[in-house]
Symmetry: C2
Subunit: 287 residues, 2 copies
Amino acid sequence: MLWLDGRISDDTRAPFDFADRGLLLADGLFETILVIGGTPFLLDAHLERLARGAESIGMPCDRDVVLSAVRDLAGAQAEPAVVRVTVTRGAGPRGLRPPAAANPTVFATSAPWSPALAFKPQTLAVSAIRRNASSPLSRLKSLSYLDNVLALEDATRGGADDALLLSTNGNVACTSAANLFVVQGDRLSTPPLSDGVLAGTMRACVLALAPDVGLNAEKKSLSLDDVRKADAAFSTNSVRLVSPIAAIDGESVGTASGERLVALLMEGLRARVRDACGVDLFSPLSL
Amino acid sequence: MLWLDGRISDDTRAPFDFADRGLLLADGLFETILVIGGTPFLLDAHLERLARGAESIGMPCDRDVVLSAVRDLAGAQAEPAVVRVTVTRGAGPRGLRPPAAANPTVFATSAPWSPALAFKPQTLAVSAIRRNASSPLSRLKSLSYLDNVLALEDATRGGADDALLLSTNGNVACTSAANLFVVQGDRLSTPPLSDGVLAGTMRACVLALAPDVGLNAEKKSLSLDDVRKADAAFSTNSVRLVSPIAAIDGESVGTASGERLVALLMEGLRARVRDACGVDLFSPLSL
């Protein structure tokens, strides 16, 4: 499904300006939002991140239009779905310089979502591609995702489920599309934004849940060994929620006590989704 | 002007699939080609780089379609123009994984070009954004150009014409959209691809011209001081050809002897354009 200019269509084809800087230069941002029972989960956090991101790249972003796109498309979903809303800087003249007055393009697409995607363990392979901590984009959900695409493809070719990306500063950053966490004792740690990571909406949600399960949450740079030797490690994003990391480069990760804490976090997140969206999709899962 | 599916239109608006990975994930490549007298300059080099790039990201790329796009659009230009041909991986399902059988989107746009853009001196400001040498994209003309857009905007806000980007490995890389060269004595040096630079078509052209003007060309990592203290420094790309660098962060660059050698290179390049395209657009310029 496509939302464009206030209209929803099953066909994702529609008129478009091929001079759009989103297509030509990846000059734009997006949000991927889980929709359950027609309710977008963590909507405010997504809208706020998009607004902050737009401000940081100097792109106008009309919150009302974005909100309409997400609400209209979410409301059209009888089944659980993922809604992606994209804002580009719109059409411009040839070259890198943005037009003096940008006229952004806003559109949204949706795709079915299955609870089976959530809470699913995954294996990681360390990527040769690093997150560029010197780039503002490493902290933005910009359209520049080809690095992530290539890292993921390389990982899956090697038999892993996803890639683990280090930062150019040598610390651990994230996976191809998710934040990383480790549990060590009673501490829950995730890399700070300065290590080239996105301020994930699910990352913030999990950090907020941590005290409820007796974990002390912190943003702290992590080495690869910190993750490899952790009591537990997991990744978070809006589509997969929490994915426990079973192994890195073929070596298993985690202890029984760590896994128990991650299970408690997942249970807490399940309750948050149920409370926010009024539907408990995860009851058949034994966490 | 837009070339799409074999048709040329003055209107850049046309039907488009909003599930296109070029728009959603910057999953695609492009070439920017100077067209003079209807002839695309360095066409074979552009086509070859595009084909190599597509192969390296595992994207099908039909050379005949790309060639048609460029030739058709170039042939429609009475005045000098820049033709940009873009190839994306086409539409795909939600998420980062490419479809098993990609159906690429090929389109081309053109814009007027003026000889005044060529051989124009420029000032640079060193950017805080670095080229990610660990990423294959640092060596590809992919759609991921937002880093470059941001670096350029930052440089121009500070009063410079363009940004000078270092590589994450600390060496000098390039400007926002051009390769860098320095002249020191009789040596002409440009960073190797491993420092996160594009294999520029104009870079190759200038490297080939060097012996004609008594310069020994080499690909060598450069420090910022190597550029600052060079006899001359310049940048190269398909639109601006050679741009002598007048200053970096407000400090002037170059010596009279160095500038004379760059003038000889520009004279050689002018002759190459004239011989290839049958038109000498630069005669009014005193090089």
